[in-house]
């Protein structure tokens, strides 16, 4: 009997081990790839200071993020080349690390709202209904404004594209400030705060996209932020929708075009 128990335990441990094993994939490069002796060299970090420290800037013009990434990239490439290790696998590995580094650049600091800034009201059906109506109206109003702004632009290579993105950023900022002033049912305070901060962050991301033509590396991180925020915004409004549905209110959160 003991043998059976022992074998059952061993089988369980093997299964557990296998589960853990497959949950933690080995992300290290294959053996044929370079050994990165200097993490700061071939594995760029999101920390811009690290790159800044690597490249003293003798000119009076401050180096942009793109400048620093370009120099680091070329230096790393030359390093690989001089060691005879500029194989396609290594180049791709290096490029992937850089891409991750670029996408991990922290977005520029945006305004952050705190819960103390919100006016909270009790969770009654009436209050939730009123809150929902205000949110619908506000979002629809700004959606209409965004639509009007977008009618002047159809192509990101157009001259007025940056202006459109900038205006859109202003709309996010304006709506965020507007939402700070409305009364929020207690159960939706956290959700509302996330919406407001989502808009503040989107405003900053849009501004970065519009104003970083001289430093385009930052645009990717901003796009990433904005894409993430838009998805999050859907989820946050869905939470409001759910709260309203719970109180017998049906609402569609999509702007009708």
């Amino acid at each position: 009997m003991r043998a059976k128990i022992l074998s059952a335990l061993i089988a369980s441990l093997i299964m557990i081990g296998a589960a853990f094993w497959f949950r933690f994939p080995n992300e290290k490069p294959a053996e044929s790839l370079i050994t990165i002796s200097n993490p700061g060299s071939a594995a760029p970090k999101s920390d811009i200071d690290l790159l800044s420290a690597s490249f003293e800037n003798s000119s009076s013009t401050p180096l942009s993020t793109t400048d620093m990434f370009s120099r680091q990239l070329f230096a790393d490439y030359a390093d690989l080349k001089s060691r005879g290790e500029a194989s396609p696998a290594n180049l791709n590995f290096l490029a992937e690390r850089y891409a991750e580094g670029i996408l991990n650049i922290e977005p520029s600091a945006s305004k952050v709202a705190r819960v103390e800034q919100l006016s909270t009201i009790p969770d009654s059906a009436e209050n939730i209904f009123g809150y929902g109506k205000i949110m619908i109206a506000a979002r629809s109003k700004y959606a209409l404004l965004a639509k009007q702004e977008s009618e002047q632009v159809s192509d990101p290579s157009q001259e007025n594209f940056d202006n459109f993105i900038l205006q859109t950023g202003d709309l996010y900022l304006a709506l965020a400030n507007e939402l700070l002033g409305i009364k929020v049912p207690a159960s939706l305070v956290r959700n509302h705060l996330e919406i407001v901060n989502n808009y503040f962050q989107s405003a900053q991301a849009m501004r970065t996209i519009a104003e970083s033509s001289d430093d385009p590396i930052k645009i990717y991180a901003a796009i990433q932020t904005q894409v993430r925020n838009a998805k999050k915004e859907d989820e946050l409004f869905l939470n409001i929708q759910i709260a309203m549905s719970t109180n017998g209110i049906i609402w569609t959160n999509n702007y009708t075009q």
Partner: protein
């Protein structure tokens, strides 16, 4: 313990382990909006409103091009600044460069198994000879000591004692090159040369997906302005063909741009680095990674078309396939839905970079926004003058200062002074007609001599003094023996003239041939149709009065012009066309978008421009090969001409009633793309056919 208990224990442990395990980002239990998918494929979503046609895909692609620009510009600037105190990897460039070639040679000499099979007595000698051939006197990488291992073998014994191998060994040694030092050396040398050639980039290049983003332009013949070395890489000219001589650009890549800059700083040895290919690879891979990660983050892999459209496996990432639509080796777009056609354009499509249809890289220049002819902005007019002169057959002096015109006489207009001089009567009463400018200072007038002379006279009239000089005369045969064939454009100081008689065409008085239509002169070359009067080509080329070749055309020839080897023709409702000196036929007009007239060629700051009238009282001007045109209104162009005066473009246009108008317009006038992809057609190469050597004799 029963079996049931064992099962319970296993399940308990398994459940417990799963609760401790880190979780991946959980999908929300409630389905959310498809904004991520919409943002990727349809348009970015703002407050729930989806902006049509403006997706993050297209934005990311535009940004990708900026990223490449900036990486290259920043790196080149850094290189040219001497790396700003960071010479870590180029502190010993000689060592650096030598390592590349030495690495190839060393590897070959050290590890080539074929060399190891050489006969041992001279194996080391072969290796040493190769070493000496390819290595510096002070080698950077010593491979000699690793290859001189020399063990005695059968062949060495044979060298010492013929009887150890006999005639069989002798034949084996002499007939097999690898068994004797001379043949073995030559064979190994060829092999090594081949490997080095391959290593320094002579092998065929495979483009990867990322390099589709890497099309850069450099001027083929150098920049227009300034004393710029034509070899200099114009790394800052990806979209500015205006700065290139003749508007000629060729595609290069960021790697080659940087390599060239390094060559300038560090010497030509950089070439051995193969830097261009691999730097392109890493930049391309970086951009591809960026875009893929952005796309991936909004659902291309997990929630892309494969799922939405139901054509793919659930959750399966669709592979984006690079597509080269025009076969020039440069990726033009990416096929994301597996139909073999690009869905994301790199060089413009239906909405910028969102296609299809996608443009090819050859067509990428000026793929800007198309605007209707009526809405397009017009030329910046500096001055307009309507001289009180017979305005037929106007011809502008090559320096743009004067216009000569007239159907019933010969009149010269000073463009800036706005004065008109009548030069109809020359000498003893010769009644002259303008036939154009011989050079900057001389007009050719063909005149009816005094009636009693019964002759046609050619007079050259000097600009400024307007004094004429009789230089040739021909007897009248019938009523008008010599037709006044157009005296074609001539380069200053290279005066030539054409005449046509009933016998055929003469150049400078030398008979060229008959049946040659629309003849025009370009330096010492003469172009004319030789198509039996069909006006459908081919166009024949004559040099120094002899036919040297011909080429087929597109469209038809209602008029012909040539300048610096560029040839332009058009009319008869079949568009305006041109041929580059290298033989490429391109559309010079708007291909029916607006009516195209016969094109004329002129130079603006040494760059070839083409102009044509459009049948709507407007003239269209542009640098050769570009789509966007300057639109000049009030350009009747029953007969017209265009030249550059060093600052502005001068146009003389005569109406069908002989009214002449002279416009001076800025070459920096706004240009508009009035035909879009309709202007992008390239019909391919039209090679010159060289006729048999006796064809000139037969023609005459």
């Amino acid at each position: 313990m029963s079996a049931k208990k064992v099962i319970v224990l296993i399940l308990t442990l398994a459940i417990a382990s799963s609760s401790f395990a880190p979780t991946v980002l959980a999908q929300t239990s409630v389905p959310v909006s498809d904004s991520a998918l919409r943002q990727k494929e349809v348009g970015i979503t703002i407050f729930g409103y989806t902006v049509p046609g403006l997706s993050w895909d297209s934005i990311a692609l535009v940004v990708a091009k900026h990223v490449i620009d900036k990486i290259v510009n920043s790196t080149v600037k850094w290189i040219n600044n001497g790396f700003e105190g960071n010479p870590a990897y180029v502190s010993n460039p000689k060592q650096y460069f030598a390592d590349i070639a030495d690495g190839v040679a060393g590897e070959f000499i050290r590890n080539n198994k074929d060399l190891n099979l050489l006969c041992s007595p001279f194996q080391a000698n072969i290796r040493l000879s190769l070493m000496q051939e390819y290595y510096e006197p002070e080698p950077y990488q010593c491979t000699l000591t690793e290859v001189v291992g020399n063990t005695r073998g059968a062949i060495e014994d044979f060298y010492n004692d013929f009887s150890k191998g006999g005639w069989d060994a002798w034949f084996s040694m002499t007939q097999n090159p690898t068994n004797n030092p001379y043949g073995a050396y030559l064979k190994a040398r060829v092999d090594l040369d081949s490997r080095i050639a391959s290593a320094i980039g002579l092998k065929d290049r495979e483009l990867n997906q990322g390099r589709g983003f890497l099309s850069y332009k450099k001027c083929t013949l150098g920049k227009n302005t300034g004393a710029v070395n034509s070899d200099e890489v114009q790394w800052n000219l990806p979209d500015d063909p205006n700065g290139c001589i003749g508007g000629l650009q060729e595609t290069v890549t960021p790697g080659s741009v940087i390599e060239n800059q390094l060559s300038n700083v560090l010497g030509t040895g950089v070439r051995q680095l193969e830097l261009a290919d691999e730097f392109d690879e890493i930049v391309g891979a970086l951009v591809t990674q960026l875009i893929q990660k952005i796309f991936g983050s909004v659902g291309l892999s997990g929630a892309g078309k494969g799922n939405a459209g139901g054509t793919g496996q659930s959750g399966e990432a669709r592979r984006a396939i690079p597509i080269d639509t025009d076969g020039d080796g440069i990726i033009d777009g990416t096929d994301t839905d597996g139909d073999g056609r690009p869905d994301i354009c790199l060089f413009g499509g239906e909405n910028g970079t969102v296609g299809p249809p996608c443009l090819g890289s050859r067509d990428q220049e000026e793929d800007g926004n198309v605007i209707s002819f009526n809405e397009a902005p017009r030329a910046t007019v500096v001055d307009t003058y309507r001289p009180p002169a017979d305005g037929w057959w106007s011809d502008i002096s090559p320096n743009g200062r004067y216009v000569v015109s007239g159907n019933s006489g010969s009149f010269v207009t000073n463009v800036k002074a706005k004065t008109v001089k009548d030069i109809t009567i020359q000498g003893e009463g010769a009644d002259c007609r303008n036939k154009g400018w011989f050079n900057n200072d001389t007009i050719v007038n063909w005149c009816y001599g005094k009636p009693e002379y019964q002759r046609i006279e050619m007079w050259l009239v000097e600009a400024g003094s307007w004094a004429g000089k009789l230089i040739a005369q021909m007897p009248v045969i019938g009523n008008d023996a010599v037709s006044f064939t157009n005296i074609s454009r001539t380069d200053p100081n290279e005066g030539h003239w054409l005449t046509t008689t009933t016998e055929g065409l003469y150049e400078d008085g030398v008979f060229i041939g008959n049946g040659i239509g629309h003849a025009t002169i370009d330096g010492n070359k003469l172009y004319g149709t030789c198509d039996g009067g069909s006006n459908l080509g081919p166009i024949c080329i004559y040099e120094n009065y002899k036919k040297v070749g011909q080429f087929t055309i597109r469209g038809a020839v209602g008029g012909l012009d040539a300048l610096d080897g560029y040839v332009a023709w058009g009319g008869y409702g079949k568009g305006a066309w041109g041929r580059t000196p290298t033989g490429r036929i391109i559309a010079l007009g708007t291909k029916g978008t607006v009516m195209d007239g016969v094109p004329k060629l002129f130079k603006v700051n040494n760059q070839i421009w083409a102009g044509h009238f459009n049948g709507f009282n407007s003239c269209l001007l542009r640098p050769w090969g570009e789509k966007s045109v300057i639109i000049v209104d009030d350009c009747p162009a029953a007969s017209w001409d265009v030249e550059f005066d060093g600052t502005n473009i001068v146009i003389s246009a005569g109406s069908d009633r002989g009214e002449l108008v002279i416009h001076t317009i800025s070459p920096d006038s706004p240009r508009s793309n009035v035909c879009g992809s309709a202007c992008s057609d390239m019909s391919g190469i039209a090679p010159i056919y060289t006729p048999p050597s006796n064809i000139n004799e037969r023609m005459q």
